[in-house]
Symmetry: C2
Subunit: 312 residues, 2 copies
């Protein structure tokens, strides 16, 4: 198997360029006329586990998080949510209450983001799958992964690491010890207002942090053809992350850099008060290629595994 | 588990009515402003089998059929295809060539129907899943399941039974004996032009035949609050179906009534030359409830199992 990047490049070539499509395959969402469209799947044993239910998580949590993860792609494009389609696959014989609880979670996200579920699909499958299509309205300027320029700062909304810590705790059966983090995992925020504000404030590129900061910044750097440098001391860790990580024997910086599913926005833009109102600077864009994580002296830090492969 | 009807009723209540949505959950597609949206999943061992590949079917066939099945929902609403999103789930370790062949099939459908794939998603899963979101442009009048009125005739485009026969042959390892039917299974037609023409000609209700004629006509009858009567002698069987069914020990009428995945349009409308140009009358709408299949003397025919549960 090739890398995901190679797979997506090949898919882009199979599907070709479509007329009238401003932004297509390979970005967070597609822009067609004034509509922004994206689809995202949450699959059992890839994105969540049945064993978590009742041990820190509920099916409603799983549904809510799946829908907000999909909405986050609209935030990264600076689009306003408009509607969703919810395709759910369930093993034969699954209790209806599981379906309805998942749907309640999706509906909660729909209400919170003003994106009602207007259609969907039910199918049998071996495992539970929640595939959410989001339809948004493009803002005046759409953000995309390409566009970052040398001189831009790298900005991040919110903080990092809480979801990854919660997943590790759920996997270890220790969710009750870090309940506040588990709550954050299942109540992520799609940064819709921040995406719109960043676009209005002149942000040049954006991506949401779904695969881990290091990897997603790499996607942005590659699409933009530039290099990104992040100062590790400037990374905003979730409050209490260091202690909670220590109690579970985990490295908080690894969780912040590689954990994934934070759904914060990574932005690039020149410094400005408008950007400072919604995000904090964590690094800068330079000529070159790739992502470097450096310490306070500018010395590179070896990252080890910094991408999020779900349970891969 | 409740019936699919009960499940959908409950999901409709969970998601509520959305403002600005002309047609929502429970119809073939949703209509939001001038946009028509639908999502459809094709899942391994539910809609197709790996064992078919190389024995009458290819992965490209599977991808093409999945995409055209999704586009068929636009036909049933009298909408024009505009774009697709393609979410594909694959077992870890699956050969990339499987993914690319499926994508080639989806792309073939995209070109044929003028609906380019503008985005998508890749995920791991236990089995292969192809979830296709279709975006269409509403025609001047959208068709829906509700609206059939006593006095309407029931109309059907094309003919019935070929896909069900092909599935049975693939399952029995006898695809090569009925190659023309297998070709039809994997090259269905989304009846886009017929849907638009029917709406223009004053059709009052429509649904595409995905679960089997008897069951889908039942959905239409229920949504419209009327009764539908179909004369069995008027059912257009696929050419050669009777002989091919006999050779496989199958009942051609059962294939035509309950086989499913025909993707023909079932319409209701008063008689007119415009309707006759695209479909043929197979029955009539009456006061009452439910679907009756009758012989030439009007005597009801017992259907046994007439719904299509995939491999359920």
């Amino acid at each position: 198997m090739g890398s995901e990047r190679e797979r997506i490049a090949r898919l882009r070539s199979i599907h070709g360029e479509a007329e009238g499509v401003a932004i297509g395959i390979g970005d967070d969402a597609a822009v067609l006329g004034g509509s922004v469209l994206s689809v995202d799947a949450a699959i059992e044993d890839v994105h969540f586990r049945r064993a978590w239910i009742g041990r820190g998580a509920s099916w409603r949590d799983v549904g809510r998080r799946a829908a907000i993860a999909a909405l986050s792609d609209l935030a990264a494009m600076a689009a306003r949510p408009r509607a969703m389609l919810s395709a759910i696959a369930l093993p034969r014989g699954e209790e209806d209450e599981v379906l309805f609880a998942i749907a309640e979670g999706v509906a909660e996200a729909a209400r919170a983001y003003g994106a009602p579920v207007i259609g969907g699909n039910l199918s049998a499958a071996r495992e539970i799958g929640i595939t959410t299509t989001v339809l948004g309205e493009a803002g005046p300027t759409s953000l995309r992964r390409a566009g970052a320029a040398p001189g831009d700062l790298v900005w991040l909304t919110g903080d990092l690491g809480a979801p990854a810590l919660a997943v590790a705790a759920l996997e270890a059966g220790r969710a009750s010890e870090v309940a506040a983090f588990v709550r954050r995992l299942f109540h992520p925020r799609a940064r819709i207002a921040e995406g719109l504000a960043a676009a209005a404030a002149g942000a040049r590129a954006a991506i949401d942090v779904s695969d881990g900061l290091a990897r997603d910044l790499g996607h942005l750097a590659e699409a933009s053809g530039i290099s990104a440098v992040v100062e590790i001391a400037s990374l905003p860790l979730a409050p209490g992350l260091a202690d909670a990580a220590a109690s579970l024997g985990l490295d908080p910086v690894a969780l912040a850099l590689g954990g994934g599913e934070d759904y914060e926005l990574l932005l690039t833009a020149p410094d400005s008060p408008a950007l400072r109102a919604i995000a904090r600077p964590i690094g800068r864009i330079e000529q070159g290629r790739g992502v470097r994580i450096v310490d306070a002296n500018g010395a590179p830090i070896s990252l080890g595994r910094t991408g999020h492969d779900h349970f891969g």
